[in-house]
């Protein structure tokens, strides 16, 4: 790995203001400044240049993993996290670093104008350093985005199992989408918890939105119904479509003592009748 010459670091240190000006204009023309206030950007670039100089003076090498670059690494991580949260794409985030290449190269060129061999060597070293920083930014950026996706997935799982109160003592759980083991576990837990919290005696599970019922789904349903019964509440399955009824019969599934209704209205009617109430048109 090429080492940076002491005079390169000195040159960068002495020309920070100039570098920042060129850097900012480079960022401006390439649209990497979208949604970022001018002030914030100026602050960020100034801070980064200071950290860069500190790193150069203490470390000298272009190996970004070295301890001397700790401050720079931290800054880049913070930067890419904030860019990811602003909704910028990876290109815009990493361009923040790459835009510095131009001004730095210009500076080196004028600094080493009479030593071509040294110029080439120093250009290479700086280029390697900047590339390393870019890579680091991208890596952190991606990780942040992945965290966001993971969090959203969890939220989706939560959202897909809403337990609603239909009537005093009647809970309903409209299921939408395919039931897998993990989801049916979440469904079962949240439904049982709500039964305890509200003291409801009847729970209606509506499977209108479940596209197919296979043996696994039927087993999950049966487990949920049994658990509900063990807790002392009743369960009605509603929204059994004709195709689903046919599948269940063809698969030879035994739904045992399960109460099924073809739609939610009938299930609610039954639930109210069991609770001793009634609902109907006024004559």
């Amino acid at each position: 790995m090429a080492a940076l010459h002491g005079s390169t670091s000195e040159a960068i240190k002495n020309n920070q203001a100039q570098l920042q000006k060129e850097w900012l204009s480079g960022l401006e023309t390439n649209g990497a400044t979208r949604n970022i206030k001018e002030q914030v950007l100026a602050q960020e670039t100034r801070e980064f240049l200071q950290l860069l100089v500190e790193g150069l003076l203490s470390e000298g090498g272009s190996n970004l993993a070295a301890t001397g670059w700790e401050g720079v690494r931290r800054f880049l991580e913070k930067l890419s996290v904030s860019r990811a949260q602003l909704g910028h794409d990876s290109h815009q985030a990493v361009y923040f670093i790459f835009a510095l290449k131009g001004p730095l190269f210009g500076l080196l060129q004028s600094h080493f104008s009479d030593e071509p061999a040294r110029l080439a060597e120093q250009l290479w070293a700086i280029s390697e350093l900047i590339d390393g920083m870019g890579m680091h930014t991208i890596r952190t950026f991606q990780k942040t985005r992945e965290d966001v996706i993971k969090r959203q997935q969890e939220e989706l799982l939560e959202l897909s199992t809403p337990v609603v109160k239909l009537w005093d003592g009647v809970l309903a759980l409209p299921l939408i989408g395919t039931l897998d083991s993990q989801r049916s576990q979440t469904v079962m837990e949240s439904l049982l918890q709500r039964i305890v919290d509200t003291g409801s005696e009847i729970a209606i599970i509506d499977i209108t939105g479940v596209p197919t019922v296979d043996t696994l789904v039927a087993q999950h349903l049966l487990k949920t119904v049994t658990a509900i019964r063990l807790m002392g509440a009743d369960c009605i399955i509603s929204g059994v479509r004709p195709q689903i009824a046919q599948t269940i019969v063809h698969l030879g599934l035994d739904l045992g003592t399960l109460t099924t209704k073809s739609n939610l209205a009938d299930a609610l009617k039954l639930a109210l009748a069991r609770l001793g109430g009634d609902i109907g048109k006024q004559v």
Binding site: Q193, I195, G199, A227, R229, M231
Partner: protein, 120 residues
């Protein structure tokens, strides 16, 4: 030796399990309860397990057998207040306790017991 108290409320017996059930305790309860039923000729038994947050297959089977034997001694039995975690565990263990009557809490259980006893 530690025992689970059995309280008499009119013609019903109330068993509240407040401690962690271990095997010996369950067996003692079984004996005590049958003694008390024959002694007081109780009409119904209410077993409150709302404080029970862990079960194994033995305790699960014990609950079933306690309710079975008090039914043979002509006392209606209800298991009330089972926690969601306990219900899920029992289902996963394959213990669906067929024939055991359940209710959400003591109040509801008592209501159902009264109805059944008055119908007799």
């Amino acid at each position: 030796m530690e025992r689970i108290p059995i309280l008499q409320m009119g013609e019903f017996l109330l068993v509240t399990i407040q401690v962690d059930m271990h095997d010996q305790l369950a067996l003692t309860l079984q004996e005590d309860l049958t003694d008390r039923i024959s002694h007081t000729s109780a009409q119904g038994v209410l077993i409150d397990i709302s404080a029970l947050d862990m079960v194994d297959s033995f305790i699960g089977r014990m609950i079933a057998s306690i309710s079975g034997l008090s039914r043979i001694m002509d006392a209606e039995t209800m298991v009330v207040g089972m926690q969601p975690a306990v219900a899920i565990t029992l289902v996963e263990l394959g213990l669906t306790l067929p024939g055991v009557s359940t209710a959400l809490n003591v109040e509801r259980g008592m209501q159902v017991l009264r109805q059944r006893v008055s119908r007799k």
